[in-house]
Every structure is written in C-alpha cells, then in structure tokens.
C-alpha cells in the first residue's frame, strides 16, 4: 500500500518536472554549448541523481526549441558512437528563459502560500 502511494507520488512529480524540461535545458545552455547526452547527464547530476530525463523527452524538447528559434545546433567531432550535435542558446532563447523563470517564481510564491 505504502509502495503504491510512493509510486503515485513519483509519477506526479515526474509529470510536474517534465513540464519544465524546456526551461531546464535553456538554463544549462546559458552556461555554454552542450550536446544531448551531456544535458541528460548534467540534469541527473545536478538533481542529485533524483531525476533521470528520458532521452526521447530531452530530444523532443531540443527539437521543439530549435524549431522555435530558441536554440541553434551544429555538428561537433565524430566520436566512437556517432557524431555529437551541439546546441547553443539564442537571444530568443534567453528571453524565453527569463519569461519562464519569472512565471515559475511567481507561481512558486503563490503555491508556497497555498500548499
């Protein structure tokens, strides 16, 4: 029973986090250009191993941001597996990050009072 509750709790928090994937990625890219696996790895490390972003979720977020002109990409050196594609944030991406951060801080302020 306790197990079930924990599982439900886990799923909810993961959905909540997923909604912020774009913002998390923009934040990481504002520190410098990065490639896909580097982003997943950093998220895993920075969250103290609590959040493992699925490759597909991260990738679809990158493609969405790229399509919207918030990030751009370029091919890097060939590695043993394939080629790394690096992503860098654009001014439009920085703007979106600022807006999302403002939204989040405001929502957090309200939720802190209500929850």
């Amino acid at each position: 029973m306790i197990y079930t509750v924990v599982m439900i709790g886990k799923k909810l928090s993961s959905d909540l986090l997923r909604g912020h994937t774009d913002t998390i990625i923009l934040n990481l890219l504002s520190d410098g250009d990065k490639y896909g696996y580097e982003i997943t790895k950093l998220i895993h490390e920075k969250s103290d191993q609590l959040y493992l972003l699925k490759e597909a979720t991260m990738y679809s977020s990158l493609k969405r941001l790229e399509h919207d002109g918030c990030i751009t990409s370029y091919w890097g050196d060939k590695t043993q597996g394939g080629r790394r594609k690096y992503y860098s944030i654009t001014p439009k991406g920085q703007e979106l990050y600022a807006t999302n951060m403002w939204n989040w801080t405001s929502a957090k302020e309200i939720l802190d009072k209500l929850l």
Binding site: G36, Y37, E55, A56, T57, T79
Partner: protein, 276 residues
Amino acid sequence: MNDKLKQFLDSAFKPYGNFPARKDVEQELLANLTEKYSDLKAGGKSDEEAYQATIDSFGDVSEIMDQVKPATGNQVQDGRSVHKILKDSFKQAKRSKSKFSMVEMKQSDLSETNLAGADFNFAELRESNFDGSDLTGAKFRAADMRGSSFKGACLSGAKLDGCDVSEVSFTEANLTNAQFKAAALKGATFNGAKLDGATFGWSDLRDVSFENQTLNGTYFEASSLKNTSFKNAVLSDVTFHHCEAKHANFDGATMDKVTYALLKGAKAKLDNVEVQ
C-alpha cells in the same frame, strides 16, 4: 555494442519510414546512447545491464516524432503524390493489350470465373458481379467498379491503383497483398475479408469499415481515415504512415505497441484500446 544500439534505434524508427531527418536523428541519438552505455560500463555494470539501462532510459519514440515532422500532406520523401501515382498507373494501364482493357463491361456477370492475372486496366465495370471469382494478381488500374461486388473473390496480389471501388462489397474476399494506391474506397465494406499485407496508399477510405477484422502487416499511408471504423479489430504490425487518424474509430480494438505508438502519433483516439 555500437551495432546493438544501432539496431535498437533502427527498429524504434522503422515504423516511421525514411522521414527526411532520419539519418541525422539516428546518428545524434546513437552518439548519446553509446556514451551513456560507456559511462554505465565504466561505473561497473555488465554488458547486458548497461545495455538494458541504456535502452530503458530511451523513452517513447513517438515523443520525438511529434517534433520531427515527416514530409507532410500527400507528398513523401521521393516526391510521389496522388497525381504522380495516377499518371504512372495510367501509363502502365495504357500499355496493356488485354481483351478486357479499356472495355465497356457495365453490369457484367463474371462470378465464379477464373480470371487470375486478367488485365482490366481502364475498364468500365460498374455494377459488375465478381462473386467467388479467382482474380489472383489481376490488374484493375484506373478501372471504374462502382457498385460492383467481389464477395468471396480471391484478389490476392491484385493491383487496384487509381480504381474507383466506392460502395463495393469485398465481403469474405481474399485481398492478401492487394494494392490500392490513389484509389477511391469510400463506403466500401470488407466484412470477413483477408487483408494481410494489403496496401492502402494515398486513398480515400472515408466511411470504410474494418470492424472485427484481423489486420496483419496491412499498410496505410497518406490516406484519409475520416469515419473509418476499426471497431473491435485486431491490428498487428499495421503501419499508419502520414495518416490523419483523428476521426477514425478504434473502440475495442486490440493492437501491438508499435501500432499503438504510430496511431498515437497520428492523433488517433485510443482510450478504449487494448495494447498487447
């Protein structure tokens, strides 16, 4: 291991065909997965554990396909279109020298007849009766068969590109590997028909019923599925490529995971579907 991961990606993207960015997408993802695998190995995992953890963390490929747009509309990567398919099939049809080709045969009774391999290209066959006939490998390119009947007929491997079979009954017919491209099938019925490996491409399938059917390896591409019903159908290894499935009915249908993922990508309503 690189090969194994490449195989994993190849099979994950296989149902989506050769969408334009596929090579780039796979190359990039392979680099990511390979590095992840190496990291897990370096962390002390066995080959099998590392491989399993890598593919487990991959997630749902349909999420990626929501962002990576395939070629849209009825245009596909090799530039084919309804127009091109019709032109090609007319060209082939015109070349035929068969006695049935380009012939006016309205309301003919051709039931229980052996017509395997027959060539009916361009023929006018409205309201004709082909019930119980053997039409294996027959050609009906650009033929007009509105209101005709093919009950219990064998149309295995038949070519029906550019034909008009609106309101036609294919009840209990064998359509294994039959090919319908740029065909008008509005309101056609397929009760109890065999449709394994059949192809429906760039076709009008509005109001068509596939209810209670078992579809194995059937291929739907760039076809209109408005009010098309797959109620209680069993779908395995069925491909839906570039189809708008939002207004199709899948209530009570059973399907495999890949078919489910493809339909999800095609915006189908899948609330009452059983995934096996």
